[in-house]
């Protein structure tokens, strides 16, 4: 079953909603986008929507479709549950590759499989009492399961639906979906009981450290004396620790993060069309122009010169 979300005009892959045999519905979102809102698909029915997301870059969760809505930061491997019909979207930063497995649990499904459980009732209550979304981070195991499920689902929708082991993929998707759902609910359950959920980073200290580093980066990233070492000295952390935290929040290493920041900035500067490319490269802290061109190409798959020409031809 295929359908295109009517409100969705962005050039995104057609959404494929699959009905899983067990009664759930699943959709796979996949896109490489640049500063965009990715809305949750509308299932036109009462129930709960649980999405598991994975991405590389900056993503925030907005509870609504308009720019002024409340936002909260997301991290790769986050699972979130909300009541179906509530508006919610993922607001992405520059050049983000984003993938999500969206599960829809119809209201009728709940009493059969979840209803008898007090933990789920508590969850339902929280959702009714105004909590828009409830989140829970997946563990590493689950994250790898998620990404492999997203990968196979991607192959499936790209049309290679030939004979072989392919027909089992729906069942495969169902298995991953159920496993993730189970993990999500159990982990929520555990945290309700007061046991700390088993995830890699949930620690307030770590989060505040990351926020501190982020603000430090956004302040100094254009200076040519700025290095990762200077961050380490300032925050008293090891490179590996910091990288690990960055990966779990942004899905990329700290140097990739800094590079993306710089290149993003340079892109804006090119669009302003005031300075030459070599000037820009120097200003955002690159000491050699060829390094800068390579970096730009890595992020946007185009050289800055060609990008400039494109902009000029549009103007």
């Amino acid at each position: 079953m295929k359908f295109q979300d009517p409100e969705q005009e962005q050039p995104m892959k057609a959404l494929q909603v699959l009905s899983l045999p067990v009664g759930l519905r699943a959709a796979v979102l996949k896109a490489t986008v640049d500063r965009q809102d990715i809305p949750l698909p509308d299932f036109h029915e009462e129930g709960y929507v649980i999405s598991f997301i994975n991405f590389k870059g900056d993503v925030r969760i907005a509870t609504g479709h308009r720019p002024g809505d409340k936002e909260q930061p997301a991290s790769p491997g986050l699972g979130l549950i909300s009541a179906a019909g509530k508006r919610m979207s993922f607001r992405t930063g520059a050049s983000v590759s984003f993938a999500a497995l969206v599960l829809f649990v119809p209201k009728g499904w709940v009493p059969h499989f979840l209803g008898a459980n007090t933990p789920f009732r508590k969850l339902e209550q929280e959702l009714e009492e105004g909590a828009n979304i409830i989140t829970c981070r997946l563990g590493r195991r689950q994250l790898s399961q998620l990404s492999s499920a997203l990968n196979t689902a991607g192959e499936r929708s790209s049309g290679s639906n030939t004979a072989g082991e392919e027909p089992l993929s729906l069942l495969d998707l169902q298995n991953s979906a159920l496993a993730l759902l189970e993990y999500f609910l159990c982990n929520r359950h555990r945290s309700l009981l007061g046991v700390s959920p088993t995830s890699d980073i949930e620690n307030e200290d770590d989060l505040s450290l990351i926020r501190e580093v982020e603000s430090y980066i956004s302040e100094y990233y254009c200076s040519d004396t700025f290095t990762v070492d200077s961050i380490l000295k300032k925050t008293y952390t090891s490179y590996h620790r910091l990288n690990f935290l960055f990966k779990s929040i942004h899905g990329m290493t700290i140097s990739e993060y800094i590079r993306n920041k710089r290149i993003e900035k340079s892109k804006e500067m090119i669009a302003d069309n005031v300075k030459s490319i070599s000037q820009i490269a120097y200003e955002i802290g690159y000491s050699s122009i060829s390094n800068y061109i390579l970096a730009f190409k890595k992020v946007y798959q185009i050289t800055p010169g060609k990008y400039k020409k494109q902009i000029d031809s549009l103007a």
Partner: protein
Amino acid sequence: MSYVSLENSESFLKCFEVIAEDKSCIVSDSVLYFSGKTGKGFITAAGINTGIEVLALNVSMLTDDLTIRFQPSTDASSYILHFDEIEIPAKGDSDLPVTSMSGVEKGHSAVSIADAGRGKTIVYPRERVIRSLIVRVRKSSLDDLIKDFDAGTIGAILDSPEGPASLTWPITFKYRLLLNDFMTEIVQHPFRELFTIRNVSMLMEYLLQQFFVMQKLAGEGNGLSSQDTRSLSRVEQHLCSQYKKEFPGIEKLSRISAMSPTSLKTKFKRYYGETLFGYYQKNKLEHARKLLDSKIPVKVVATEIGYSNPSHFTLAFKKEYGFSPWHYLNPH
């Protein structure tokens, strides 16, 4: 001897009443616990009213045989699936198929699917370690489940009047691992129904995969005598138990099976759909994966499953799953 008889429409919970009446059992929260006098373990049911109904047995040392009989009925529209693992406790050896007489199967380790309409009787023998799942699934649900798949075939085989009453396959390490996990967690799992349905869904996938492979390999019948299958499951047991050590070698295996190496190889492949070494290796790596899941470092896992060199382990793991153990742990 406990004897439970179920109508086609009756819920699995009915079982409990009968068994509990017969023996001094304790029923609480849809779990039936055997008391020490009559055996150890529990039976639990899940998925009532959902189209897929599951009865899970995890018992050992019953003092009596336990018989569960599904009445044949005309308006039947469901399948009965079985995943049974039955061990003789002391020797750890599998109980071997006893020739079934007039549709009554004396329990043995196997996976099977049967049309509920024809009825079925299962006997769980006493003084054994039994892990078993009985799944009753509506035909429509199963068709949904495998509609993408080569669905017609299973139905057609079971429906044809001259065909077999049930399709049976040998149990493999995959089922065994899953059943083990399932039984340890099911009773205190906070989301029992969800947990059950997930595991059943995985079992279905295994079953379909196995069906698919066997169908390709065998065509019509695999031409193995019951003595052959007995020897083969002995070999399979031995292979599985050896996952911490080196591959036992074809001479040893052929001695166990009392077959010539060549015929052992061909027959094993025909029965299990896998070469001897392939089967051994898959089982080993599946164990490794479970160890990795419980946060044991790669190096330790490698030694644990009998690799002297961690990089050999990494290579083997990569060959099997397509990614290295390290990538398995760090999916970013």
